[in-house]
Symmetry: C2
Amino acid sequence: MVTIECVPNVSEGRRADVINGLADSLRSVPGLRVLGVQSDGAHNRSVFTLAGDAAALAAGVPKLFEGALAAIDLRTHTGEHPRIGAIDVVPFIPIEGVTMAECVALAKAVAADVAARFAVPMFLYEEASANPARQNLEDIRRGEFEGLAAKMAQPAWAPDYGPASPHPSAGATAIGARMPLIAYNINLATNRLDVAKKIASAIRISSGGLRYVKAMGIALEDRGIVQVSINLTNYEKTPMFRVFDLVKREAARYGVDVLESEIVGFVPAAALTQTAEYFLQLEGFSPDQVLEVKLRT
Amino acid sequence: MVTIECVPNVSEGRRADVINGLADSLRSVPGLRVLGVQSDGAHNRSVFTLAGDAAALAAGVPKLFEGALAAIDLRTHTGEHPRIGAIDVVPFIPIEGVTMAECVALAKAVAADVAARFAVPMFLYEEASANPARQNLEDIRRGEFEGLAAKMAQPAWAPDYGPASPHPSAGATAIGARMPLIAYNINLATNRLDVAKKIASAIRISSGGLRYVKAMGIALEDRGIVQVSINLTNYEKTPMFRVFDLVKREAARYGVDVLESEIVGFVPAAALTQTAEYFLQLEGFSPDQVLEVKLRT
């Protein structure tokens, strides 16, 4: 069984009729599942969580463009979240029975199709881009919709597919493939915010830490404790157990214990399996030994 | 999705035509999957690993009785493994979307059906038996087929279903429900067999250890190391991480390190998830947060 997750971010978080209409059009696609729709009014943005095989997603994503282009005009759009397009970003995420290379191929095929049908410029990002300056979503989105025409006038910002200048009302879209993200928080048995901030700084890539860790230290005021709040963007290459062990060791330096950790939202089974393998010192273990995996093959 | 595993042990491990015939009759049952057939000539016994929902197993197990009764006669059967019946033991094991109580109910329904159709006495065991003297399979099997008529003449050994005396050629069957068994070995960085034996003795229930652990110390001659070889009969109540930690601690007492551990055969995903939860000190975690679990519901 092939399962690919797709999490399009759409620049509409306020008009329920538009958001519901987009969700309904996705639900009508055979084999496509709508696992969730989260809308944020302040961000004026909705996140659709979809799952299916390549064919279902290749059929569903253009439907989303069709509906969003008819309903959203970025020339009058306001919201706190940065965006370049009516459909701002479309990541494909390998979950089961599918490789990252296949998700990259799907991203490129959908990008070419959408660009041709809707005249929206498409920028490949993350694993789908071979250009280091284009892999990071923040780099593509810098300047936002309002600065997009000037940005695309530079040769370095020609799109990967579609017209050379922005779609008048829908801007452009970043489309690509990435690993599932794990939102992972580690709570410390202390109220010392400086300790959480120092640990976050020690473990995140932006200040010299682990490659696939974003982290910040925050206070949980109501509980009188602090938290190292982490986004883990590639659990295969930067595993949860390594992050946990490193936080624990850094905390010990300040005489602080780890109180508990928590996973917010979903986690791939493989991230938990690799954690059990590590701590149990398992040798020669294969995912095929997981009974549920065997039963599904 | 409901998945129940069923692992009938049949007293025939030598005649390939008989074993293949039984497997083929099981494969013909709609919704029933034959995951594996392991035969042992010395034991003269075959283990069928089946999976399906309650309806598929309720249809399949009687087919196995029909075929085995026609082909196997315990009056002329020899083999190293103790047995009381042509179909010796039939355990039902909850895997996914099903409770132990439902597996107990299934065991009782199949037992009643088989007893009525084939006149084979059925003994409930493990979770399916309310009688402590009948829960342990070894207690039911003591005396084997050859001693069964005398044993069943005692009031304490009246069967739960079926005739009061053994089937002439097929004896009786133990049928019940149990947790999945995990074959889990921990290798020590030493060649001292006495250390492996002392640790096995410390952790197993039979000498005062953990409730759901069977263990022995053995030498891995070719590698020059020793192993604590473990059967974990209920990973929910005696989790893998606790066994691992206890072995590690006991080994340290003798100045010995754990080299590695290994899982032989299958392991339920939940056993690995609970291990990750323990070592990561995860709080408030629900199995529904595992992406693959969410995708299957």
